[in-house]
Symmetry: C2
Amino acid sequence: MTDNDTPSPSRRSLLGWGGAGLALGAAAAGGAVAMARPDDESPPNASTAVPFHGPHQAGIATPVQDRLHFAAFDVTTDDREEFVQLLKDWTQAARRMTAGHPVGDGAYGGLPEAPPDDTGEALGLKPSRLTLTIGFGPSLFEKFDLADRRPDALVDLPKFAGDALDKNRSGGDLCVQACADDPQVAVHAIRNLARIGFGKVVIRWSQLGFGKTSSTTPEAQTPRNLMGFKDGTRNIAGTETDRLRKFVWASEKDGPRWMAGGSYLVARRIRMHIETWDRTSLQEQEDIFGRDKGEGAPVGKAKERDEPFLKAMKPDAHVRLAHPDANHGATILRRGYSFTDGTDGLGRLDAGLFFLAYQRDVREGFIPIQRNLATDALNEYIQHVGSALFAIPPGVRDKDDWWGRTLFSEEA
Amino acid sequence: MTDNDTPSPSRRSLLGWGGAGLALGAAAAGGAVAMARPDDESPPNASTAVPFHGPHQAGIATPVQDRLHFAAFDVTTDDREEFVQLLKDWTQAARRMTAGHPVGDGAYGGLPEAPPDDTGEALGLKPSRLTLTIGFGPSLFEKFDLADRRPDALVDLPKFAGDALDKNRSGGDLCVQACADDPQVAVHAIRNLARIGFGKVVIRWSQLGFGKTSSTTPEAQTPRNLMGFKDGTRNIAGTETDRLRKFVWASEKDGPRWMAGGSYLVARRIRMHIETWDRTSLQEQEDIFGRDKGEGAPVGKAKERDEPFLKAMKPDAHVRLAHPDANHGATILRRGYSFTDGTDGLGRLDAGLFFLAYQRDVREGFIPIQRNLATDALNEYIQHVGSALFAIPPGVRDKDDWWGRTLFSEEA
Ligand code: HEM
Ligand code: HEM
């Protein structure tokens, strides 16, 4: 048995195949262990593993990784025991994958007559700062006698002006957000969780994000969204412990107790009318955001990081309406990604922003801000087509802990 | 006017915004030029630009980049002049984007009352080895009086056993393959070409590939496909001039003359039945390919690069059936990518291999091999759902040349 908690410098160690190699004999002799060749094409820091254990789940305050695979699942089992076991199995798999190991260890599944424990496509890839973050949707609390454990903050989101939500891209009993600097690592993780969950959960919808649109590290270059603007300039930094405590982490006194150290995630699939946007003048584009396109500076200011002067912006400018000063201080941590999912029936790119926002309470975060955005000039160019809300339980503390333990095992 | 041919070390130079900054006055003063901050998160070599000019188009023998955005377009204009002008405009945009510059230069489009020349989301990103490769589909030759210029090798692909082709993911008058180490750079390129083509061409379908499944640099680590196997082990290397000449580049004597230095591309969207595959035993998986999963060695051999001994494999093993020895020497250059496009209506990942193969003549490349794969054991786990074929014209020679010039301007 290997130590699952030690981040590996490389998935190349092929732990999962070690046993297989022995069992296979001739075919694998001398060949079951891949060479640890230096790979010139992998990004720097790719060898880094983000610690899985902690008071909060990783993937929220963690510096935003480049790529995303997000999956919403529905629970298909009625058996609470079975579901709890799945959460334990998922936790163990997540622990291994985020450390750069394949699911399972050499002692299992390496037998030729059994399916491998790990699907294998991430072997040879670095941990790539993979984080896996689990969430529980409102509908989960209708199952397994959980009704009285549902947090008050896990409201049903109201209908917002302009919503055109597709049921097939909305909701879900569970979610897993996989972020990594290598998309293959993120895709591998979701797929292996889905596989472990076979017969107990089924993927309801999933979303690939090819480029981050937010940063939680102010010193890094701010990424640009598909409208070409720097996005995530004013965000909560992963190092701002005070603001995280104030705006992101649910506390014991917020209730319920099982959520202490957790957070709430709003996911919105926001389609952009790219073709219309691309025919809009630079001036109008800049007016819409209240920032200039090249530098990202607020209207009337010179630098991206200068404090926005809201009154210099048009009354319907996005930043003016989204800013905490316009929302009684409401503040969220944004962690969205750009997507393109081919083309729609009209030859237009199905592209936009997969918006992800973490907050301590949606009633004091996303909801008031999104309500205030009803008059946003940006609305002419976007449409919210998917929506989901999840309670993000606290972190997994150590190797005996598991995702959701506080919900399923602790006193209310 | 800047020199478009000089690869820029960084898109950060923001050439496209230079003029805008001046025109915008106060809002942009001192702010129009983004800082060239070192970006710790960008991959190594990302600063490299692949030369756009040459006897062959880049993106074929070029070492395979990590990510793909592939688009098939239909032509909507009847006006040959207009279409030729589009090809010239695209060439110029491609020249700039592959060098890491935005589309257009500071002298145009930076005016606040005009839409920007470039959509902007790749500003600040490195060239990321972007290549753009154009192709002409059979249906293009039914337009613009081109019928007699259609190459004999540009056949209509026959129907193959097991094909379940979706018209909405097949065909196209034109294609552009964008490969880059950063997906945002590839997506940006396709989108800007689509935008320049507005009113003249429309995207018919497009495909994002999140991970390469082939390598054309044998010294690099072989990537793994979504079945977890190393893919692209036996491929034509970008440095094998002789084999490229023999199997990939169309020659003058193949005819037509305008195709000399070009190639033919087969694109197949191959869906994998991932969930079924994942429940298959390791032994069966290895039998199906005729290689072991950990190392990628052929049956009975120890190392990935060992020569396959076909007779040691099951008669229906993929490698045994696809190998040149089983196909009268037929050899293709594979350059495919893994895809995941969310989930289908049944909660299964819509994932697989976007297969791309280049060859001198499909009648001596893809067609015989694919016919021979009719009895492939792999067929139980895959389905071809999209198909397209394109004639890839020769490279753009210099700054006065343009994509398709030999087709549209030279004698037959
Ligand atoms: C496609 C949709 C959207 C786009 C393209 C977009 C883009 C932007 C951009 C470019 C900025 C300025 C730079 C920055 O500070 O990050 C910004 C700021 C912001 N956006 Fe959005 N946004 C979108 C949707 C939303 C939604 C749905 C919300 C929340 C309901 C939101 C909340 C915010 C907030 C809170 C700020 C920071 C305001 C400030 O403190 O100055 N955005 N957004
Ligand atoms: C999802 C579908 C496919 C998968 C997963 C797949 C996978 C593989 C794998 C793992 C190998 C062995 C390693 C290597 O040499 O690259 C291979 C070899 C090969 N495949 Fe495929 N393949 C697929 C479809 C195709 C198709 C459609 C063709 C052509 C019609 C093809 C042609 C070849 C060739 C020519 C080889 C090299 C054989 C040799 O020279 O040993 N493959 N494939």
